[in-house]
Symmetry: none
Subunit: 242 residues, 2 copies
DNA sequence: AATATATAGTGGTCTAGACAACTAGATAAC
DNA sequence: GTTATCTAGTTGTCTAGACCACTATATATT
């Protein structure tokens, strides 16, 4: 595994060797690797050199050190392509429920001053206004009102809107969403909302406003949602970007 | 800058010292820092110890090494130290309000099965249980109950807890938080909560549960908070990691 | 049986060197 | 002048130890 006369640094050879064993499954998650002293003796190198190799693998998330116990293969990294940036449909499927949609309204309306600012269009510009009841396993989960500039997605139809708009935009229009800002807030259901969500007036609801941005930075959409407080929890993972 | 008899490791002291100089602007982007040998001689420590400090700062993006030339302060470190991963105190200050704290309870309790699993400790292990009313500009904003393994932060006191625990942990204990998982949910205030938050029973509240992880992956803390729905909105920015 | 205490093994920190690889500038040779 | 060479200074790699802090287990002690 280690060739002392290779031009490659020893720590690097060891690092790659261990990484390979992890990727090939010869070292499994949770398994302890040989101790630093043992590795040093095995390959007749200094412990500090072993540490340099292990340090790199720890930084890359392959290994986890536990003082007094040993060094272990890290639990498999979770792949999260768009951490929390899921559409309603994806969100529900991830929760093991079948998403559904009932379109209440599908209109083209002029942008109000507030919406114009949020979507970066002129006041009065054409916007789709889409009001939908979102279902999970057939039961109402949320009430959604979204606004999208007609200029960005010219050929939206009521049919498309009864499915996943995001999927349409990514697959057929060829635009992709890069980022979003969400604001969450607790409230209670008003009469109209309560009826549509099939809960009692005054029941807890989660208000969610999301603004999505395209890859080029243009705002794509503003969505205001009212989620049933008894059925929906919003989970978000945050990580310090190194 | 370096105290050899401090319980804090030498490399850490040096690391913090350099980081501070960068953050205060005493070392400017592009500027070369003293060479490793020079630092070692100045503080009468080993060069390997200096390297450990510098390595960490390079990994964190504060410094850039250039072989044969020197080590330089990195160009504009992107400021997103903990996007959304802020403590209550930071959160309130960012909103232009002055944070405050009233400690209701500060006990050591045995870990329940559920908490033991969340915090990765044995059932029955000692945990701090900290119950606090969090104030913003003197008015109640949230009710917080947090659990921290005593094994990780052995010397927590009621005094510390009346300020920012995160700041204490980062600055004095020398641990830093890498990631967190938060779950948000809408609910209504129960009687006890309503009294402490000074709202009516049944008023909307935002329930927030956060689990924080340290750099080494160990869970540090589980916090369950009840925020006043009329005063608090939770904002989160999400970005597709390329 | 419950509780201290020792012990072996682990990673964490640190030393005082060494030589290699690289950069930049000064100096010498052409 | 141009080119090659030397030289001082830098980071990169590596050694062979040392002691500390922590964990788990085995062993006395009570």
């Amino acid at each position: 595994m280690i060739n002392k006369h290779s031009p490659l640094p020893i720590y690097y050879q060891l690092e790659q060797g261990i990484k390979e064993m992890i990727e090939k499954g010869q070292l499994k998650p949770g398994e302890m690797i040989p101790s630093e002293r043992e590795l040093a003796e095995t390959y007749d190198i200094s412990r500090m050199t072993v540490r340099q190799a292990i340090n790199n693998l720890v930084n890359d998330g392959y290994l986890v050190r536990k003082r007094g116990k040993g060094t272990f293969v890290a639990a498999t990294k979770i792949e999260q392509p768009l951490k929390g940036l899921t559409s309603f449909s994806e969100d529900m499927r991830a929760r093991g429920m079948e998403p559904g949609t009932k379109v209440l309204d599908f209109n083209i309306v002029p942008a109000s001053a507030a919406l114009a600012q949020l979507l970066d269009v002129r006041e009065g510009a054409d916007l789709y206004e889409i009001r939908r009841v979102r279902l999970a396993d057939g039961l109402p989960m949320a009430l959604e009102t979204s606004y999208i500039p007609c200029s960005i997605v010219p050929d939206l139809t009521r049919e498309i809107v009864s499915g996943s708009v995001y999927e349409f935009i990514e697959k057929d229009v060829g635009l992709s969403i890069r980022s979003a800002v969400q604001v969450l807030e607790a409230s209670v259901a008003r009469k109209m909302e309560a009826e549509l969500l099939q809960v009692k007036e005054g029941a807890p609801v989660l208000l969610l406003q999301r603004r999505s941005y395209l890859d080029d930075g243009r705002p794509l959409e503003v969505v205001k949602s009212v989620y049933r407080g008894d059925r929906y929890k919003f989970t978000i993972e945050m990580e310090r970007s190194k």
